[in-house]
């Protein structure tokens, strides 16, 4: 009896075991391969920057803070005039 490779049943309707088994194995292998490649593609590559991170401490005094404190600073200068 000659069957085409893609044919999973013989003309009487019985399954051709060997081909189905092969198909199953092939499916399993390709499934694992697909999963593995998905895992690899999903990895996020994190590497340390080559330049040092510099934070300018001068921004510690922001203009908005200076504006908020201005009134209190003037009060202090007026009330303790002998040290200013």
């Amino acid at each position: 009896m000659v069957h085409k490779i893609s044919q999973l049943t013989d003309p009487s309707g019985n399954a051709i075991r060997s081909i189905m088994k092969n198909r199953k194995t092939t499916g399993l292998i390709s499934g694992v391969a697909l999963g593995l490649s998905a895992v690899l593609a999903g990895c996020v590559q994190v590497s340390a920057p080559d330049k040092p991170i510099v934070i300018n401490l001068n921004i510690n005094i922001k203009q908005e803070v200076v504006y908020r404190l201005d009134g209190d600073a003037q009060d202090l200068i007026n009330s303790e005039a002998e040290i200013f």
Binding site: N60, L69, D72, I77, E82
Partner: protein
Amino acid sequence: MFEFIRKNKAVAIVGGLALTAIVAMPVMAQRDPAYAAARSSGAIGEKPDGYLGYVTAPSGSVKALVEDLNIKRKAAYTRKAQETNSTVEQFAFTSGCNLIKRTVAGEKYQAPDGSWQTRTSADPVRDSRCP
């Protein structure tokens, strides 16, 4: 007496204010003469950080005077920083903005680039963050 006050409320208020002014006068302490002299001679000046600095190499007495004032300033800044929920540096800097603004012609102040400038009638050169 009370009858008089009741009848002349306005006069009493003015009189009370005048009395307060006379009593308060000696409390308003003025600059120490040695400090005033060092300021007007340009030996010392105001810095943007809120403290006094030496424009020229100071004598022993001027150095002692400036150090004493800067310690007192730092104590005042620390107290006010706590009250206003800010840092000592922030409060001192804001005070420095005002102190440079209040210098009078002939006095010295430090510009943001670190150079000492003599105050003229023109606006002083201050940090861009100053109000």
